[in-house]
């Protein structure tokens, strides 16, 4: 296995390149993914290398996803890019009513091996519609897999696995982590869809996070450590399927937990995590699980986003709130 130090954007690019090289049926398309290489350069060089297997489309997200459905029905493995989170909403009907349901509709006859890449979430000073954390919409929809990497290594592995998957995957790329650099294991990948990972061991409480919130959780754990509290950090990686086993074992081991996520909290993935972990670990819990999430407001303008996003202090406040006997 080869290792290389890559940014997350580069790791994703590499995953696309390696998948296209290995499998002729992989095609990449969307807005500006051709000569421009995508607004985040994730598809850089693909149209030069693969010709019409990576192509620019008209500006119409429902059309992009709908055409991908048809190509997937007919032997291809499309990987489409939605330029930004909120610009996937025009494709919502196609995603919910077809991408998620075609296999079930046809009793397994028609599979849709397709990947919908969505640069998502905030923290980059983007204006309205460029910062939505839209995972709940997809996670609530049966029939989709929903993943969100937090490291370049996971980005590579998860994207390769998503493209190879017989099921459609909504692939959420935390924009603010595109430029984060790390060692990436290239080549054959071991399965990580459906598998959460413990990013940091800890004994006092468990922080549960995914995508852009993992670095926040890790930093909070670092600070807590200095203050004498040992926080465990679980990175879900995969929202659907959800890894109950790893998450519940982690929470049982500490008896306290905080969920950290950028999305508005109401009826969200965070709600689900609190609900299902509480259902399963009730008697191991010393305190109710707390959520640190974006507020129930539209994503704020750049100058105010720092107030909205779950930050280290807010996470630590929530940890402090977990009814410690000594406090």
């Amino acid at each position: 296995m080869m290792h290389e130090k890559l940014t997350m954007a580069q790791a994703l690019n590499r995953a696309l390149r390696d998948s296209m090289t290995e499998d002729e049926s992989v095609v990449v398309f969307g807005e500006d993914v051709g000569p421009l290489g995508g607004v985040f350069r994730v598809t850089d060089g693909l149209s030069a290398q693969f010709g019409e297997r990576c192509f620019d489309t008209p500006l119409a997200e429902s059309g992009i996803v709908g055409v991908a459905v048809g190509m997937a029905m007919n032997g291809m493995r499309p990987v489409v890019e939605m330029q930004f989170d909120a610009f996937a909403y025009p494709a919502f009907e196609q995603i919910v009513s077809h991408v998620a349901k075609m296999r079930n509709r046809t009793r397994g006859k028609v599979a849709l091996p397709m990947t919908i890449r969505i640069p998502y979430a905030g923290g980059i000073g983007g204006v309205e519609h460029h910062c939505d954390s839209s995972e709940a919409y997809y996670a609530h929809t049966p029939g989709l897999h929903v993943v969100a990497p937090s490291t370049p290594g996971d980005a590579y592995a998860l994207l390769r696995e998503s493209i190879a998957s017989p099921d459609p995957v909504v692939f959420l790329e935390p924009k603010k982590l595109y430029w984060a650099k790390d060692e990436v294991a290239l080549g054959a990948v071991s399965p990580s869809i459906g598998k959460a990972v413990i990013r940091r061991p800890g004994t006092d409480a468990t922080l549960i996070a995914y995508g852009p919130s993992v670095p926040v959780a890790l930093e909070a754990a670092e600070v807590a450590d200095r203050e004498g509290r040992s926080l465990q950090v679980v990175d879900l990686r995969s929202i659907v399927p959800f890894d109950d086993e790893t998450v519940c074992a982690a929470v049982r081991s500490t008896g306290r937990a905080v969920v950290v996520a950028e999305a508005s909290g109401f009826a969200s993935v965070s709600s689900e995590i609190v609900a299902r972990v509480t259902e399963r670990c009730f008697h191991s819990l010393a305190a109710p699980i707390r959520r640190v999430t974006g507020f129930d407001i539209p994503y704020p303008p750049p100058k105010l986003e720092h107030l909205h996003l779950p930050g280290v202090d807010r996470v630590l406040d929530a940890v402090d709130d977990l009814q410690w006997e000594d406090s």
Binding site: A60, S62, G63, V65, G66, H98, T106, G194
Partner: protein, 360 residues
Amino acid sequence: MTGDAHHLLPTATPVSLIGPDGHPVADPAHSLPAPGDLRRALAALITARRLNDQAYALVRQGRLAVYPSSHGQEACQVASAQVLADGDWLFPTYRDTVAVVGRGVDPVEALTLLKGDWHCGWDPYEHRVAPHATPLATQLPHAVGVAHAARMRGEPTVVMALCGDGGTSEGDFHEALNFAAVLRAPVVFLIQNNEYAISVPLARQTAAPSLAYKGIGYGIPSERVDGNDVAALLSVLGSAVARARAGEGPQLVEAHTYRMQAHTNADDATRYRTADEVEAWVMRDPLTRLSTFLDLPADDMTAMNDEAERVAAHLRDGLNRDVEPDAAQLFAHVYAAPTAQLREQEALIADELLRDGAAR
């Protein structure tokens, strides 16, 4: 690039080759299909009409939950299937049972959705017929994708994509036509303009001279055809398929027809149209028109009617058979392999059914 724009426009009146009275109509650009093709079409029309009637009867008997009849529109559906080659694809709407059956799908399988047993009753790959799409116009981008994939692999596939007049108002109609044109995908878009979208008449759906005038906005050549004239349909759709197969890109055809019955059995058409209006269309019936024209010997007609009866009986038998609901099916096809969560949920039902069984 605008010099030859006008060739993309349809003719001012729909192409017709056999008039309502059953007499041939001269057309400068289209000739009558071969007699064999017309005979095949007549047989299919007779079966189609019988199928529509049978399905309606099955609704009354409670064997079908709902049925959107294509009575009056059978010519469009028969022709759209007949012009395709085996390797081609059909993308139907919920009203296109006749076209689906025309591709070779068992009518019982074709009506599985409307019976309530499952969402799609046939294997889409067996006859290359997509599951019929309920959300309007959403099947059109799929059709483009199937065509584009085939073209990338150098296959000669053409895709016939059906859509109603109402469906043309949806954004997906627009996006699909545009993608098809830009990708030069071999798709024939057939609009069955039956003058209504449930209760909404065409005049509230569009202010265009006719729906075929939408083609030029995508750079797609467009034609209008009498949707109750199967000869004209075979000719116009046949050449559209040929052009698409020859690499000339997508084609748009608007067929002018009429929905003779209510939207479905659940609809009350008297609320929005008069009996007179419907009556006027009886004179333009696609079936009588072609049979008048062909004027076949009684024996031939009997054979065709017998075949139609056979199909109807098969449908009746099939729909009268009850499929045992199988709870496991709920969880088996959500993903290639059920998630841990789905396995838990399946266990819950299994346990309930076990206890129910024990209690009985």
